[in-house]
Symmetry: C2
Subunit: 379 residues, 2 copies
């Protein structure tokens, strides 16, 4: 059974549309996946997620493991039962969270010891244990535990992180095969390997080739969008994608802004996730086809228009900038709800526009048109 099918590649660049079949349903690509760190996309109900067109969510193994804990996840039949929706979920490996959130982290050859950011308790992750955790979480797409190096990292640090990441990926794949060996092919989760290598293009090439040999179901690009320059990011991404098989999905972890999505989709990235739409919403920043802006600015006080006059989301169908501006300034929770819905819908809709552009064979024109409006700031 082939889980991923490329539907069409744009004639002018690497952008492509596809269809990823998971045990929880089909995920059309390109796709933007809202982030449900703690088994909830912050401030958004499952009904609104569906209405936003969410086809896949990202959730964090590290967070779910710590709270509510795997016993709870198992009791409720996994994350879909727990959250009560049928949208496929991709779980990241915890590698990035151990790196960015936890205290007193110590990486050994075998795994990583760290202290919880919640209560300081000590925990130990290995590649095998993370596979077991993802089994308890019951997500549709699993990832292998990886080592995230800091940015900037020396070439030696990046190479050492990559070496461990690849060893761990082999162990994860082996354990994954054991854990899933009795599952029918259409019932088994998919496994994505994480391609590391920091900003070093030769390491990215090496990582891609080595990961391709492992034959996971897809490739996650990790360790980018963590502070490097935009050219560094795009070069590292390109070095990875060029050396990956074309018949499997490529997922850029933790990206990002709409312009970054367009740039990375152009190189052949299929899947994206980011906390940006919900986090920015809580800080009062919204996106529209005519640029991003802060809703609290005085000019929106008497503005009858929706956040984005072209948007069809629940927020834009029903509420004015003036009303939302008031809610935000009055510290009302509803402001976060409405702007989160809008921003998520906006990024999902960018992915839809990419698909349409590829279908029409006009990705570059569509990207150019997006950028021309978005950076004029004429909202």
């Amino acid at each position: 059974m082939k889980h991923f099918e490329v539907i069409k590649t744009d004639p002018s660049c690497g952008a492509r549309t596809g269809r990823l079949t998971t045990r929880q349903g089909v995920v059309n690509t390109q796709i933007f996946m809202p982030v449900a760190t703690q088994a909830t996309v912050k401030a958004v109900t499952q009904r609104d997620l569906k209405e936003c067109g969410a086809e896949c969510l990202l959730s964090n193994t590290y967070h779910l493991y710590l709270r509510p804990g795997l016993k709870v996840m198992e009791h409720f039949g996994g994350i879909n039962g727990f959250m009560n929706h049928d949208i496929p979920v991709l779980t990241d490996s915890g590698g990035f969270q151990v790196f960015s959130l936890s205290k007193l982290r110590k990486i050994t050859e075998d795994g990583v010891i760290f202290q919880s950011h919640i209560d300081g308790s000590t925990h130990y992750f290995t590649p095998e244990k993370v596979i077991d955790f993802e089994k308890s979480i019951g997500s549709a797409i699993w990832t292998c535990l990886d080592v995230c190096v800091k940015n900037p990292a020396t070439r030696a640090e990046a190479a050492e992180g990559l070496r461990k990441t690849m060893n761990w990926a082999k162990r994860a794949k082996k354990h994954f095969l054991e854990v899933t060996k009795d599952m029918e092919e259409e019932k088994r989760p998919l496994l994505f390997g994480i391609v590391q290598g920091s900003v070093y293009t030769d390491l990215r090439k090496q990582a891609a080739e080595a990961m391709a040999e492992l034959e996971p179901d897809g490739f996650a690009i990790g360790g980018l969008s963590v502070g490097e320059t935009k050219p560094q990011m795009l070069e590292a991404l390109q070095a990875a994608i060029e050396n990956l098989p074309k018949d499997k999905p490529v997922y850029f972890m933790g990206l990002g802004t709409p312009e970054d999505l367009w740039d990375c989709a152009e190189l052949g990235t299929d899947m994206f996730d980011c906390v940006l739409p919900t986090r920015n919403a809580r800080n009062g920043q919204v996106m529209s086809e005519d640029g991003k802006y802060y809703i609290k600015n005085a000019c929106y006080r008497l503005d009858d228009r929706p956040i984005d006059p072209e948007c069809s989301c629940y927020c834009c169908r029903n509420y004015s900038r003036g009303y939302i501006s008031h809610l935000y300034k009055a510290h009302e929770i509803l402001a976060s709800e409405l702007m989160s819905i809008h921003n998520i819908h906006f990024l999902i809709n960018q992915a839809h526009k990419m698909r349409e552009a590829v279908a029409a064979g006009k990705f570059r024109e569509a990207k150019k048109a997006f950028r021309e409006r978005y950076f004029q700031d004429r909202h």
Copy 2:
């Protein structure tokens, strides 16, 4: 045109059902009105409010006047246009907020000077100005500026507060008639007078009689549920209701718990509002037919049941106690959204149960049945 019609009075007590016709639509009574202090019921979308069965909302003149300000309210065509829904809104007079929230309050014969709780700016409310404010807000039911005395208050303090309240009510009524004189009867707002008198039954009687003479469209009972004992509250309420005309609606301001709603409806109260369902939700306390409880308690961690198995709200149709307990403990906004929806639905549903009980002529039995289950705490 008669704006209020009593449909049926229970044979065993004062409980009754009715129909209040406002320019914004019909309000069936008994009714529980969710509170939209700052032009939003905290954490609840307008779609969810409708789905909860909300037929009337309470909003606060004091808050809307300070933020977003009356210019904004007028620009958006009043509170219904601003919030984007067609549910009638009752605005309170600001008297209670000036008393409870503002700094350096000074009551004169003419009105009240106070400092904003937001920025310390100085403002001056008079009975006439409050009527003008409510015109700008565009609510369906207006109230007259009143004086709220502290609790406990001496008889002399209560009598003095009542004297001012009645003088102000006369001025408010006079100004109301001027402001609305060119409106067709079905387009004019309704005016409710506020009956004060603290816990003194003779003052409550005097207040009711004096307010009845003014012939407002309805009577709001103010200055109760502010720290007095339950018997004091019920006696003061009864003293007021006994001396009010039976053909106009009675609204108890700022009540309350479900058991208080049943007790006061039994005496003939038609309308209720309170921040309790949303405030308690944000603190993790939910109501069910089997009692109230805190969702964070360990026993709910693996509980598959909805908050109230008999409830039909969006929250209870879709989410388990275990999931909501996790959201609450993880400080997720969605916890507040879901529990607010449930608690509002629960109190609105209590009013629906009261209507059914009156229709069946069995109010007291229904109240007894409610109490027997609610206070067993068997959730």
